[in-house]
Symmetry: C3
Subunit: 475 residues, 3 copies
């Protein structure tokens, strides 16, 4: 009986999770690279440079209120909250991984937005007259969007990777995103204001593929840490609610000024409301004694926002939004109950946060809804000018019909899927290299690995008082 134990020791020898040199090195070098590249490429655009005074006069703009800042900044701030508090806190549900959830989310988002400004800038905002990228508030929103896809991917591997791996995941994720987005939005000229395809489908399949590549056979050795505790579930609700409340801003942030933003906000508001009811209904229906499960409430209530992402600025109609939300609440919750265990067991995809149910399926549905809504667009419904403005049937795309647009939307969906799955497999390969300091199978979902965790003493005041006489340890 000594031998097997010995062998087991060999196999399960503690991994080296000390990232003391690797993490700082990655942060310093990459941040320095950002500074250099920003120095070469990034400048203010005409609305954020001091030449705005003259620009205004030259273009006969009567008021500072016409500066894009005032059309988009409130939505930008809402999106910003979704990225850092929304995604960050949504992942705090694990009993002992809240530091990692909020902290690593913070780290990779802060890196990602910089890299996204560059990558998206090269593809979308490059001024060919001087070779510079000109940025304004819309670029900041797009950078946040871009990062969202990587944070979604983080959800699949939460607790099982090192911060260095997350940085690598983000570097490649942003890069792939920018290319995929360029193909979908520019080349195919598909519309995707809320990013059902570009952000959610891509991000989710990217993360799931990585998780598949990083499959851990003995993950049940960490099962003691895989659940939630009472207060961690309440913390996660902070994330859920900020995502839910600000999702109308997410889907409308880069829509057209005026009716575009207005309609996108209304549609998202309605889809989300509808999702809550069906998610709760399914959660209760499939549980013993009809008790609700916080996992469903925290996640599936958001599915409607994902699924109206593409069509939010179209004439989806208020009841259409409700129907989309209705279906997604059901599908997403059922996914948590049936699909996630199936995928873990049979497909070897371990999806910590269930992003397949929250982002992948609703994202694909959103792409399909978008394609159908676009294909069904008619001039009586949109008005002739409205049709052109909503779908951007201008310049090159002057002669495109709504039916054709529907086809291109569907094509965009496929591109997002391919980039997600293909990119995820490649990046997953890279992340399997034994150099990144990831935790052992029996030590996943544990903040102790990468964080100084405070010792939790009994917190009742009496105990604190007695303790103080016995061990006067320093902070």
């Amino acid at each position: 009986s000594i031998k097997p134990a010995h062998l087991e020791d060999m196999c399960d020898r503690p991994k080296n999770t000390d990232v003391r040199l690797r993490l700082p090195a990655v942060c310093f070098i990459w941040q320095t690279a950002m500074i250099i590249l920003f120095g070469i490429f990034i400048r203010y655009d005409s609305e954020s440079s001091p030449y705005w005074v003259e620009y205004k006069r030259d273009h006969n703009i009567s008021s500072d209120a016409e500066n894009d800042f005032y059309f988009r900044y409130p939505s930008f701030q809402d999106v910003h909250v979704m990225i850092f508090v929304g995604f960050g806190f949504l992942m705090t549900f694990l009993k002992r991984y809240s530091f990692g959830a909020v902290g690593f989310n913070f780290l990779i988002a802060a890196f990602g937005i910089q890299w996204a400004l560059l990558m998206q800038g090269w593809f979308h905002s490059l001024d060919y007259s001087d070779g510079k990228i000109k940025i304004g508030v819309e670029n900041l929103i797009n950078a946040d969007f871009c990062v969202a896809s990587c944070l979604i991917a983080y959800g699949a591997v939460l607790g099982k990777v090192s911060p260095v791996q997350l940085m690598v995941l983000t570097l490649f994720g942003i890069t792939l995103f920018a290319v995929e987005e360029y193909i979908i939005l520019e080349l195919l000229h598909a519309r995707d204001a809320g990013g059902s395809m570009v952000i959610h489908t891509f991000g989710a399949y990217y993360g799931l593929s990585i998780s598949w590549m990083l499959y851990r056979r003995n993950l049940d050795q960490s099962s003691r840490l895989q659940g939630s505790v009472y207060h961690s579930d309440v913390f996660a609700m902070i994330g859920t609610l900020f995502l839910w409340m600000f999702w109308p801003s997410f889907n409308s942030a880069i829509a057209n000024h005026g009716d575009g933003q207005h309609r996108a906000a209304i549609n998202t508001y309605l889809a989300l409301a509808s999702t809550v009811l069906t998610a709760m209904a399914i959660s209760s229906l499939f549980q013993k004694h009809g008790k609700l499960d916080m996992v469903h409430i925290q996640n599936s209530t958001l599915a409607g926002g994902v699924a109206v992402g593409t069509a939010a600025e179209f004439m989806l109609m208020p009841y259409g939004s409700l129907i989309v939300g209705f279906c997604c609440g059901i599908i997403s919750t059922m996914g948590y109950i049936y699909l996630s265990p199936f995928m873990e067991k049979h497909l070897k995809i371990q999806d910590t946060c269930g992003i397949h149910n929250l982002h992948a399926m609703p994202g694909v549905i959103g792409g399909i809804v978008g394609a159908i809504t676009a294909a069904a667009a008619t001039e009586p419904v949109y008005g002739s000018e409205g049709l052109i403005k909503t779908f951007g049937f201008e310049d090159h795309f002057e002669h495109r019909t709504p039916a054709e647009q529907g086809g291109y939307q569907a094509a965009g969906m496929c591109v997002a899927l391919c980039f997600g799955i293909g990119g995820g497999i490649i990046v997953g390969c890279i992340l399997r290299l034994p150099i990144w300091g990831d935790p052992a199978d029996d030590n996943c979902f544990n903040d102790e690995v990468y964080w100084e965790v405070p010792e939790d003493e009994e917190s009742s005041p009496q105990v604190l008082y007695y303790n103080s006489h016995m061990h006067n340890k320093d902070m």
Copy 2:
């Protein structure tokens, strides 16, 4: 001694709190009804439809910045946060009812906003030319407002009702609200930008009447669960602060463009600041050793916002706002100390969150302040055009004087009271039917009844580690 125990068993036999069929049925059926009614009635208004381009040209509107979306969307998002995070987290203070507080708040608000869009739409936004309700951002805000009244009512019965009862409470609450609001704002032409009367007075008395109808004689059997724990009090402060901070947006969200919104925000900001000081002062003054009580800080600091709701857009003057806040901080905190115990003991009104102190009394004060301020309005103070614009002395109401307006404001107050009390008694009767799955007297304030609650293991890392070798349970 066997017999009494036997008898007691009979009386206290566990209630059937399994809502497995009832909750999903209500959610599915009502949500389906919403979809059908939305399909028949709800359309985009001229500012959120693609015809906006043409509308703009026809009405000589020079800029998209004139779209109501940009005047109201930032305030809308603040109000949205108040509804879902503000009210939700304010009620998490109980040691074991945080899931129910945040989760059921989420559920009924998500249902309520849909039903409110319909009910308010029929009364206020019906386009008689085609029989459709045309919605824009202002309707979303009003739907949130309407829901607020039901969430206030929830505060009175927190922990003592089932989610099915809450859905019923909301269905009727929204319906009554829409009628009451129609009478007060349209027929009486009273002004109530921040809803002191329409939202707070109505909602609070509605909830208190229901709580009175649902009086539980043996509620002290749940007293073990009725207090807070340290961290639940901190969670509740999240709710308090988001309500407090965004209240200026609440009171200004549907005020007139320009000076109306501007002034309403300033007045609310000041009233709330003043309330904090007097609430803290009374809390300290009436407690042994001058120790502050979190219940007062969490609730009474908000009373000023309620009480300037009606008058926020009037010329209340900055010092007037401070005075209103000053008084309400005192009254509300005294209410918690003296009135709530009295009401529970002698009036048989069990008010979990003390909404009588936070919404009912300040709401009534707000109505009175509004009536007085309106009656005292003069042309030198408002300017002739300002007077007309502020009070809407146009069309039918062209010849109304400020003094008359004061009278109508007072009449509005009475309508709100009647609807609240009357409606609450009727709905309370309905909720007493033994079919809703409410908890037993000794099991109130307990998330275990309707939620899958995670087992809280000792959370210190050592214990977690040892545990993992003893019971490897699945998530």
Copy 3:
């Protein structure tokens, strides 16, 4: 061995921390004073009074969208969140001082904004025609800014002072702030949109000087309460993230309409992103096993926002912002590791939250960066009109050159330092008087002193159930 204990008893006799009369007295009297002073001095300005309709016509303003409310209100609300949730929750990290952190922050901010409206009003917004202060949304923002400096100071003395002392600290802090701000912004005509000098440098040195004056030799007797627990660290991250996310609004809130606000937001966004990476890198590099320390993540990630405060609206350039953030992340984290212990041991400055690392050093850096950026300004970069508008080279200051402006910026820095240190020493003397009810050395960082703290029972449901049969205590 009896004697020393006896002597010790004499020295350490419990201080009287009962603030039952003192706190209410201060609150009531000061709030009453506010009402009187507001009655005499404060009125609505032309954009928040009902005369706006006529003002608009007289000044040929075409739209309500030109009302300053719509340019600044979204930023104001973000700043408001930073003040109450940001600062409040950032300080909840201590295991048993979360009530004091959030609650006293709430109290002094609510008082401070009122006093600030008066003090700043007398210096900046006094209408000499009628002797009244005319307020609008910009005044509300400035009041929040003013309060921020006192909340920063609170960070240094967190857990070691009574609420009465905090009120005194705020009263004098606001007063000093208003004078210092007047000298820097009006007399020297320095620019400081985000308040690196005016808010952060002043506030931090004010607090540090007070903490130095209130040095507690035996503070280690409270060391049992000085650390964090797991969930208190998560609560603190709520504060961190809301500060981090909304800092672009902070630095742009009172910048010039149009490009000024736009550019300030972009620069701040970038500086903060950069800071996160270097703060994490240093935290990992200087810790055993490369484990990250939550103290650094909670605080040092914000340093970049402080340090671009002054230069945010200048042509700092995107890469310039990244560089500033890069350096401050390093310096601030190093400060926590080396400087704070040094200051406590050798300089006798006990700085609970490490405001020297988060506000003082980055604030000074921000002042220097601002001076250099201003001195380096040229017409080709800003455009001739842009240069005038950005630096306000108008009227009296028409002939000032950028180089001179740089000098005045540096002079402003010195004024902020002098007011902070000088004011702090004087106020510290006042706060040393033995009349304020501060806690004893062995009872610091303890909510029990000033708050009714709920008894934390074992919270597992089984225990709760059993408990209920043994002691049925009232709420």
